[in-house]
């Protein structure tokens, strides 16, 4: 019987002040081992100063079939953007 380790998603903070970004995945028996594997795999060239690992099964993802319902309605809300507001030239830097 061959053992299969669970998959972990890896997030790397490239440097202080930046968000953690998804980098890829590793397989590991537990979080501690996953962190070490992620360190060896994704930060060999100084790519990071902090790591997160999350069990892949814990990710809750939006359904691509819902893309229009979820993200379509944002399309016609021009009033959320500063460019929507014409102002006199003297104050247009606002």
């Amino acid at each position: 019987m061959s053992t299969v380790f669970p998959q972990w998603e890896v997030f790397v903070r490239a440097r202080r002040g930046l968000d953690h970004q998804h980098a890829g995945s590793v397989h590991a028996p537990d979080g501690e081992t996953a962190l070490r594997a992620a360190r060896d795999l994704f930060t060999r060239r100084q790519e990071g100063v902090s790591l997160w690992v999350v069990p892949s099964t814990e990710i809750v993802a939006s359904d691509p079939a819902d893309v229009d319902a979820l993200f379509g309605p944002a399309a016609d809300k021009a009033y959320r953007f500063p460019t929507n507001y014409d102002l006199p030239p003297d104050v247009d830097h606002m």
Binding site: T3, V4, G24, P29, L41, P64
Partner: protein, 308 residues
């Protein structure tokens, strides 16, 4: 989600992401291609890995270790991309071990001399990079992203290989001869790494239409020859092809016809090396069974302890 939506995304040169609907053929083609690519990375560790403990200087030893380590890493990036299509890594490894999935036959050539390490870096990695750079724009998102990472990391692989060849070609007469022998061994296999001629490559058209492939085999092959011949000249080494000549009219080098029968034999996995390579892989996996079982058992115990 539907064929129509998929076609529209491809048409717009948008990326397909894991949860998107995709045709079965597209999915299967990608799983097969990405898995073969991943398998090639980890099998490719073997011919070079054999030289780590024998490298002739500590500097070369460090470089080669880092390179072989990168290859393991690249295998892992690629297995990750393949897994996003729904096939677990364990299953892909099983298929490799059972020989139902292939790896690049380039790794079934022997590496009897140190210069082979140089030639692999210069020629094999050079050809691989030429194949891989367009894959960074592959229509399947996770594959493209893995390739971006891989291409960035691999840029040193070819350079270190060429540097080995440079040191050898400028070294003692024995070293120079060793470099020429390696070029003789690896020239044609590298040329054939781009796959069969376009006329005999039935899947090229479909893969290009799907945005999985961006250039044909023969286009890439010509690029490789054009780039590599001047590099060989600089080394003072001669590619083993009498037909090799600059064609000013075409603006390209003309070159001879590879031995496609040999290519076919290699792809079929003839010879003793494929068994050797798969044997090493399988033994590593089987010998590691008890280790993986131990780690899983410990993780279960820890989970039970923290739940208690």
């Amino acid at each position: 989600m539907s064929q129509e939506h998929f076609d529209a995304l491809i048409e717009a040169d948008e990326r397909i992401e894991p949860d998107d609907w995709m045709p079965d053929d597209y999915r299967n083609t990608l799983v097969r291609q990405i898995a073969q690519h991943a398998h090639s990375e980890i099998i490719g560790m073997q011919p070079e890995g054999e030289w780590i403990t024998r490298a002739p200087s500590l500097r070369r030893k460090a470089i080669l270790t880092a390179k072989v380590q990168d290859e393991a890493g690249h295998g892992l990036y690629l297995y990750g991309a393949a897994e996003s299509l729904g096939t677990p890594r364990a299953e892909l490894l099983d298929r490799l071990h059972a020989k139902t999935q292939k790896y690049s036959s380039i790794f079934n050539y022997p590496t009897p001399e140190w210069a082979d390490v140089g030639a692999i870096g210069w020629l094999v990695d050079g050809a691989a990079i030429m194949n891989q750079v367009p894959l960074c724009r592959c229509s399947y998102g996770p594959y493209g992203r893995a390739m971006v990472r891989i291409c960035k990391e691999e840029s040193f692989h070819q350079r270190q290989g060429y540097q080995i060849m440079l040191s050898l070609s400028q070294g003692t007469p024995e070293q120079h001869a060793m470099a020429q022998r390696a070029l003789d061994r690896w020239w044609w296999p590298s040329i054939m790494m781009f796959g069969p001629p376009d006329a005999d490559s039935p899947n090229t058209g479909r893969s290009m239409a799907w945005g999985i492939k961006r250039f044909t085999n023969d286009e890439l092959r010509q690029n490789f020859v054009d780039a590599t011949v001047p590099q060989a000249e600089l080394l003072g080494l001669t590619p083993p092809d009498d037909a090799l000549v600059w064609n000013a009219e075409r603006g390209h080098y003309d070159f001879g016809e590879p031995d496609w029968d040999e290519f076919a034999r290699m792809v079929r996995g003839e010879g003793e090396i494929p068994d050797l390579r798969i044997g090493v892989r399988r033994a590593a996996h089987d010998d590691g069974d008890w280790v993986r079982a131990a780690a899983a058992a410990y993780a279960d115990k820890q989970a039970a302890r923290s739940a208690a």
